[in-house]
Symmetry: C2
Subunit: 254 residues, 2 copies
Amino acid sequence: MPTISKEDYLKAIYRIADENEKESTVTTSEVAEMLDVSKAATSEMVQRLSELGYLNHERYKGVKLTDEGMRTALNIIRRHRIWELFLTDVLGLSWNEVHAEAELLEHSTSDFLIEKLDEFLGHPRFNPHGEPIPDRNGNLPEQPALLPLSCCETGKEYRLAKVLDDSLELMNYFTGIGLALNVKVLVKSRLDYDNSTVLCINGTNHNLSEKAGNNLFFLPENDEGYFYHSRVHQGARKKAEVKNSKKSPGRTGA
Amino acid sequence: MPTISKEDYLKAIYRIADENEKESTVTTSEVAEMLDVSKAATSEMVQRLSELGYLNHERYKGVKLTDEGMRTALNIIRRHRIWELFLTDVLGLSWNEVHAEAELLEHSTSDFLIEKLDEFLGHPRFNPHGEPIPDRNGNLPEQPALLPLSCCETGKEYRLAKVLDDSLELMNYFTGIGLALNVKVLVKSRLDYDNSTVLCINGTNHNLSEKAGNNLFFLPENDEGYFYHSRVHQGARKKAEVKNSKKSPGRTGA
DNA sequence: GTTTAAATTTAAGCATTCCTAACAAAAAAG
DNA sequence: CTTTTTTGTTAGGAATGCTTAAATTTAAAC
Ligand SMILES: [Mn+2]
Ligand SMILES: [Mn+2]
Ligand SMILES: [Mn+2]
Ligand SMILES: [Mn+2]
């Protein structure tokens, strides 16, 4: 049961390692930047988390999550993403409003409560941004390889499969130009000068910088119309529907 | 936006003043005991909260909430009780499981999110323990005068209208003997020796100590079958029912 | 291979929030 | 009206988590 700070550090370290794919050692500077704290603060916290057994730390080199650290980080990410899905699908918030709320709620939710939410939502596999939700044992759902915008070829059609939600401003912009999960886009052209991309969304062209595009991940559009974002686990949906329909029993009868 | 600690102190001060009815000055010791911290810690925090304008403090006498302190305290209580009702009515937790969860969630919930929850629940007026939920402006719903068990007369019937949920152990015991909101009870007898009361619940007799009984509040049972616990505000129910039925739109269509 | 630059850690200090022990004021007992 | 007990405040100290500034180590340039 780490503190809120420790949970946020562990989550940041996981996310950085996850983005780096290979080379899973995470540096002090990367963590400091993601959490918007000083490198000194990060250096101190890294030492404390190592003493607590969440990290392996090689001085001046970087850190890796231990098994315990990985379990803990995945559990926090699970709580975060389950709350995000709850906020959109049950309370009707929009996908750009939920990240900030979940950033707080993730630290105030017992495992018991998360299991109840998970069951209520029908054991969802992806959050509203297309990010995978670890199950209670820390296992991630299978995901096909996704292409960042910079890897999408001109003249081809794709569907948006995932958005990184770190910047609220960027999420608002994406929403404004009509981007949403599973929306079909056509890659019109790419400027070699700055590696920006022109996308056609709902008949309108938009130019996205390389940096902005790196937050968008696509699946090639094929004629099978395959959506990998089935929201719930196989077999869980029926159960969820029953549960949802018997809600709010009404304590008084009046 | 006080810290979690400050919010819990303000809430405790409100609750103590509320229980004391008249004589609304709250002492350091009372706060220290409710929050299970030292008197020294309370004394320090009281001074800080006074400097911040939440309290008026007369040294060695006690504290009263300022208007700002009252507003803040009622807002935290609103968050707490809305979460409690959500947890029972939507997620299906039992009334003795929700207080501890809400004690954390109350500090991680924006006003924006609370309004969404409030709307989803249909602007409820009471939490699962029969405690009133302040509206967004801090106004409490009307409540008829309730009788603590010690004031209930032998030979008469009552309905349980409110339970104080400070002790999980006590809540579990109450649940075990069949007590729930609006349950009808018959007061069989009272022992002058220790002021304990024998209650008949669902045909079985149970002896409750004076201290335990002080956590239970009743309404006289009259033949009109009047339940004051209508869960939602007048006029809000229809809206809530519509909202509840269109839940979980299902993002994929699959 | 030095020298310079960048990344990392350590040092010193501040704000919160808690503790125990010592002290001061108020209330209760006698 | 003293004396004793209870209540409330202050003092001193610890842990957490952050800051800026000063080392220290590693990496990059020349
Ligand atoms: Mn998120
Ligand atoms: Mn967070
Ligand atoms: Mn409660
Ligand atoms: Mn609380």
